[in-house]
């Protein structure tokens, strides 16, 4: 009876949001394990007092231990804006087994969970390419999720309009298009000084290529079908190509100072979220 009521309550929330909250809560609990100084502010370090520092920022307790004055410096003074793009193209709507989530579904969960985490951390969040401001707080989260549920799913490439200056950019996609497609969009972002993170979401079938025998492959975005007479014979070639493609993506990212991570839908979402969250929380490489 009590269980039924809880489920009825939960049914009002979109499943995406619940899943995102669950995943985010797992990561947040992990983050809580660290010592946190104040409200949403991470203690960073003590620094010698400089002349331009305000007096109220002096940490008197630390300073009392020595002869010099120390200032308590916290991480992330100002709210950063995080711009998330997740690939919602038809090629993401794929799963090789029934017990797996679709790639698009996993990407949505990751995007929403990341938004929750960012907003918990006091930052502003927006969906890239949706012509919306980056907002924080509860309202910002609602706005973000509403935009995500409403967005029809565009092409496989990131939207051309770049985010504002110095924003953090997160791309969640399968990145199966040619590398050039991503290079242009990335160049636009980098030109505006945005740090970015790429998360490649792939189905296990795309990673291991479990096909054999005579197979006619059909794409999900209207590509011409491709017939393989003995699919198991090309396994090695496929693996090599996938690795090459991924290497090219990784090189692209590292040249721009972006991070690149991969995630299979066969794994739990928490791991990917943790790595994304960690990458976001790190100060930018060139900051």
């Amino acid at each position: 009876m009590i269980r039924e009521r809880a489920e009825a309550l939960a049914a009002r929330f979109p499943p995406l949001r619940v899943e995102a909250r669950r995943v985010a809560a797992t990561v947040l609990q992990g983050a809580h394990g660290r010592r946190r100084a104040g409200q949403g502010e991470t203690f960073w370090r003590f620094r010698r007092y400089e002349r331009f520092d305000e007096a109220r920022r002096v940490d008197w307790r630390r300073s009392a231990r020595g002869r010099e004055l120390f200032v308590r410096e916290t991480e992330w003074e100002a709210a950063q804006s995080v711009w998330i793009w997740r690939d919602a193209s038809p090629s993401m709507r794929y799963r090789s087994r029934r017990d797996l989530p679709e790639k698009a579904g996993r990407a949505d969960v990751l995007a929403a969970a990341l938004a929750i985490l960012a907003i918990e951390g006091g930052e502003n969040v927006a969906l890239l390419g949706e012509d919306m401001p980056a907002r924080g707080g509860r309202a910002g989260l609602e706005l973000f999720i509403a935009a995500m549920l409403a967005s029809p799913g565009g092409g496989s490439a990131p939207p051309p309009e770049p985010p504002p200056r110095h924003a953090a950019v997160v791309w969640i996609a399968d990145f199966l298009e040619p590398v050039e497609v991503y290079r242009e969009a990335m160049a636009a972002c980098v030109a505006r000084g945005c740090a970015g993170h790429m998360l490649q979401v792939l189905d296990p079938a795309e990673e291991v290529f479990p096909f054999g025998g005579r197979v006619r492959f059909e794409g999900l975005e209207g590509e011409a079908p491709h017939l393989l007479r003995q699919a198991d014979r090309v396994w090695g070639d496929y693996q090599r190509r996938l690795a090459e493609h991924r290497e090219a993506l990784r090189a692209l990212a590292s040249r721009a100072g972006w991070s690149f991570a991969r995630h299979g839908t066969g794994q739990p979402a928490v791991g990917a979220l943790l790595s994304l969250y960690g990458a976001l929380a790190r100060p930018p490489a060139f900051g």
């Binding site: 794929y94 795309e206 025998g213 005579r214 197979v215 492959f217 007479r229 699919a231 496929y238 996938l242």
Partner: protein, 923 residues
């Protein structure tokens, strides 16, 4: 027909299709299996990828082989391959098959039928017609048919043929053959039964002259027949005869009751050189009388001897003035006789003429005076026809003048009697009661155990005469006759010189009495006191050729004795069996003359002789088709594997596919069993599932919508409280319709009783009673507490009393303080509902009879559901009286306690022992 050793093909031209196999090979080679279609987002990465070693785009060789084998098997199957195809038909024209289908054929009928069908099929394959001639089963009016039939129709006839329970009638057969002989040069096959039938030699001679006759003889022992059994001695005996006096051979017979039970089985043996064997059943007389027939094991109709009432229980008549028992049985002589006869005889009471007319085999006449002339004559006639009259002495006989004037024969007494009686013992006598000790060694009572307990106090005495000694069958210890008897015609006349009651002797109370009566009643000449029954008897049950009893066939006529009084002989219109009526059945047996039973003589020269032995012809087509189908399944699996639909790992794919293939082959080769998964949904199942998948509270739908709504709401609210407060999390409550729904699924039933409660049907009452008996608890709520200030109860209670008449409601008492209901979960002092105060009634357990069980009835008028019920807005629907939320809370606590009590029983009552247990533990 193409023959290759033991293998032959019935349609060899089909084999030409095998030439097409190479073409099929080519065709299959160039047709690759259809590809499997897979959706794959990373298709871009596959562009331009091709396996490095390019293999031709064709099916693998083993798949080709599989398919070719499949096609070859199908072709071979269509060519009708036959293993051990029996040729043997060399002539032209119709094939004549003479089949012995008489009583001797039933025991190996399957082999005979198989041989016959094989012959017909073979003839059909050669396009020859068939003349099928049964030797016993032809239509008696039309005679044997010599018309040739197409093989297909003859096969139907052969399959429908069954052995008949009468002898072969070869005379008519020979006549028909003589009149219309089979054509020259045709094949004639005689499937013989292995015994010499009258007329057989003549028939064989006629056929032999036409040429091409083969006699197929049974190769084993000949049939054995059971002769009429004998139930006269201490055991039932049966003789079994065989056709030839061969070496010693075992034989077994079974005694079967009329209802089919096997009562006994006796195994014996034919001695070497003997044609007959005698076997005995050692059975108590009661069981012996139950024997309905004797069967020789391994035999059909010939080995069955049917028995009728003449064999079974003796029917004994007790002469009484009326058929009714007296008011004081212990003073009635007939009472003792009836008790002594009951174990082994069919006892009828009645007036003398009725008894004699109904055909009893023995009549008992208790103490009686002189018989009227008419009755004496009638009795004497009956005795001479074979009946046994057993008389008892007594005061009447002693007083009658039958000893004085009349001679013994006319007085229906075996010996002349002295008038008066002799008293042994008594207050004024020196003598003592004497025991019955001696039995005449040549009389019917010879060798009986005297038991030494039966003493005689008074008797009538026989007049000494020359033949007294030989007519005396039992004596007292001083030598005076106590039982005398003599034959009279074919029957017997017996006199006990004392009473059949304990008045004159202890005999009637002794086991000796029973034993003596059993022997004496058996004198009734095997019960064969058959009054001449008028006319014919209708068939009741008849044997078939396998020796099974069944309803008579339409051709069976009535049994009537031949003009000279002899038994008629069995034939198509008169199969062996029972005739008459259910009450009086007469067994009519096959009655083969054992002396005429002889083995079949060797066929005359010019006649080929064979036996049924030899490998049977086997049609291989079904096996080949089955194998082809198995290959088809294997091909299906292999194709699926090739197209990648099976979960085959990339590395071990080949091996796994081969294993799967082998598995499929093995599975298909085994006999395919029809798997019938039955899903039967019965109408009550939905209700049962709903009631049992969750624990639920239930209420009785009383038909008053307002009341039902309150019940529903009240129990829902109580379920809520239970879920919140206890470990019980019931589902939503269910209403049950007493007339339609099963109650067994619920532990507790809430039953409001409004004044207008509809009456209960018998079915509903039965259901409620079963519910209470099986441990269910019912909370009756009369909801009339407010009107019943006193103890009389209000309108609901009155209605409940009316309803309760059909219910098994135990004695009730107000719940005593400390009843488990007061502490099953909460500690309570009272059980308020909407109304407070007043008693709640439970089963009266003061006499502790059912103290361990949940009370089946809890009764009160407090309107509990009214207190629990909530409205749609979540507030309580009714105020409580006198009021206060404390009362409402206590109402809920009562509800919780009640459910706990119904679900867990009275284990809380064990708490009463806790102090003593603690005390013991403390020591």
């Amino acid at each position: 027909m193409l023959t290759l050793g033991a293998l032959a093909f019935a349609s060899p031209w089909v084999l030409a299709a095998l030439l097409g196999l190479p073409l099929l090979w080519l065709l299959l080679r160039v047709t690759p299996p259809a590809p499997r279609v897979a959706r794959f987002p990373a298709i871009r990465l596959l562009r331009g990828l091709e396996p490095r070693e390019e293999t031709p785009d064709a099916a693998p060789w083993w798949l080709l082989l599989l398919r070719l084998a499949m096609a070859a098997l199908a072709v071979l199957a269509l060519a009708r391959p036959l293993l051990n195809a029996d040729e043997g038909l060399s002539g032209e024209g119709p094939v004549t098959i003479v089949v012995d289908d008489d009583w001797a054929a039933g025991r190996d009928w399957p082999r005979r039928a198989a041989a016959m069908e094989a012959l017909v099929e073979r003839a059909g394959r050669r396009g020859r017609e068939v003349v099928l001639m049964p030797t016993a089963g032809f239509d008696p009016r039309e005679g044997p048919s010599v018309r040739p039939l197409p093989a297909g129709r003859a096969l139907d006839l052969a399959r429908a043929m069954e052995p008949k329970p009468w002898p072969a009638r070869l005379g008519e057969l020979a006549e028909a053959l003589e009149a219309d002989p089979p054509p020259e040069g045709g094949d004639i096959v005689w499937l013989s039964n292995g015994v010499a039938d009258p007329g057989e030699a003549e028939a064989i001679e006629i056929l032999r002259r036409r040429g091409g006759l083969t006699v197929v003889a049974h190769d084993g022992r000949g049939p054995r027949i059971a002769l009429a059994p004998d139930n006269s001695g201490g055991a039932a005996a049966v003789e079994v005869a065989r056709p030839a006096a061969g070496p010693a051979a075992p034989v077994a017979v079974r005694a079967v009751a009329r209802d089919g039970r096997v009562l006994a089985r006796t195994a014996g043996a034919f001695a070497a050189g003997e044609r007959r064997a005698r076997l005995e059943f050692r059975l108590p007389a009661e069981l012996r009388n139950d024997i309905g027939r004797i069967e020789v094991e391994g035999e059909a109709a010939g080995g069955v001897a049917l028995l009728d009432d003449g064999f079974a229980r003796r029917s004994v008549g007790l002469v009484a003035e009326s058929g009714f028992r007296g008011a004081q049985p212990l003073l009635d002589e007939l009472h003792y006789l009836e008790g002594a006869l009951a174990p082994f005889a069919e006892v009828t009471r009645g007036r003398l003429e009725e008894l004699l007319a109904s055909g009893v085999s023995a009549t008992i006449l208790a103490d009686s005076g002189a018989l009227p002339e008419v009755e004496r004559v009638r009795l004497a006639k009956w005795i001479e026809a074979g009946g046994a009259l057993i008389r008892f002495a007594g005061p009447k006989l002693a007083a009658a003048g039958l000893a004085g004037g009349g001679r013994a024969a006319e007085a229906l007494s075996p010996v002349r009697l002295r008038a008066g009686d002799r008293t042994l013992g008594g207050a004024l006598s020196w003598s003592r009661p004497l025991a019955i000790t001696g039995f005449a060694p040549d009389g019917p009572l010879a060798g009986m155990d005297a038991w030494g307990e039966a003493t005689v106090r008074r008797q009538v005495l026989a007049e000494p005469s020359v033949d007294l000694a030989e007519r005396t069958w039992a004596r007292l210890s001083d030598g005076t006759p106590i039982v005398t008897g003599r034959p009279m015609g074919r029957g017997w006349l017996v006199l006990f010189h004392t009473t059949a009651s304990p008045e004159w002797s202890d005999l009637a109370l002794s086991g000796l009495f029973v034993d003596m009566l059993r022997r004496l009643v058996g004198l009734g000449s095997g019960g064969a006191v058959r009054t001449k029954r008028a006319g014919a008897l209708a068939p009741l049950e008849t044997l078939d050729g396998f020796g099974r009893l069944g309803p008579p066939p339409a051709t069976a006529g009535a049994w009537s004795p031949a003009p000279d009084g002899a038994e008629p002989s069995a034939g198509p219109g008169l199969p062996p069996g029972y005739y008459g009526t259910e009450a009086s059945r007469r067994a009519f047996n096959l009655s083969i003359d054992p002396d005429a039973l002889a083995p079949q003589p060797a066929p005359p020269p010019g006649v080929a002789a064979r036996t049924f032995a030899g490998p049977a012809e086997t049609d291989l087509a079904p096996f080949l088709l089955l194998a082809a189908f198995a290959l088809f399944l294997a091909d299906f699996v292999a194709t699926m594997a090739l197209r990648g639909y099976l979960p085959v790992r990339r590395a071990g794919g080949r091996a796994a596919a081969a294993a799967l293939l082998a598995l499929a082959l093995a599975g298909a080769a085994g006999a395919p069993r029809p798997a019938a998964a039955q899903t039967m949904e019965r109408p009550g199942d939905a209700f049962a599932l709903e009631a049992t998948l969750e624990t639920r509270l239930a209420y009785v739908i009383v038909g008053d919508e307002a009341v039902d709504r309150v019940s529903q709401a009240g129990l829902a609210s109580l379920s809520d409280a239970l879920a919140r407060r206890t470990a019980v999390e019931p589902g939503p409550p269910m209403g049950v319709d007493l007339e339609a729904d099963e109650l067994a699924f619920f532990a507790l039933l809430y039953w409001p009783v409004p004044p207008g409660h509809p009456p209960l049907s018998d079915e509903a009452a039965r259901r409620v009673n079963a519910f209470m008996r099986n441990g269910g608890a019912i909370l009756f709520d009369t909801r009339d507490r407010f009107e019943s200030a006193g103890g009389a109860g209000g309108s609901g209670m009155r209605r409940l009393r009316e309803l309760g008449r059909s219910l098994e409601i135990p004695a009730l008492a107000p719940a005593p303080p400390g009843h488990v209901l007061t502490r099953a979960f909460y500690l309570l002092d009272e059980f308020p509902g909407r109304y407070a105060g007043g008693a709640v009634w439970v089963r009266d357990d003061r006499d502790a009879a059912g103290a361990g069980e949940v009370t089946p009835v809890i009764l009160g008028g407090h309107d509990w559901s009214g207190a629990w019920a909530r409205g749609a807005d979540g507030g309580f629907a009714f105020p409580v009286v006198p009021g206060g939320e404390a009362q409402r809370e206590y109402a809920f606590r009562f509800g919780v306690n009640l459910v706990m009590y119904a679900l867990t029983g009275k284990y809380k009552a064990d708490q009463v022992h806790v102090p003593s247990i603690l005390e013991r533990l403390g020591q």
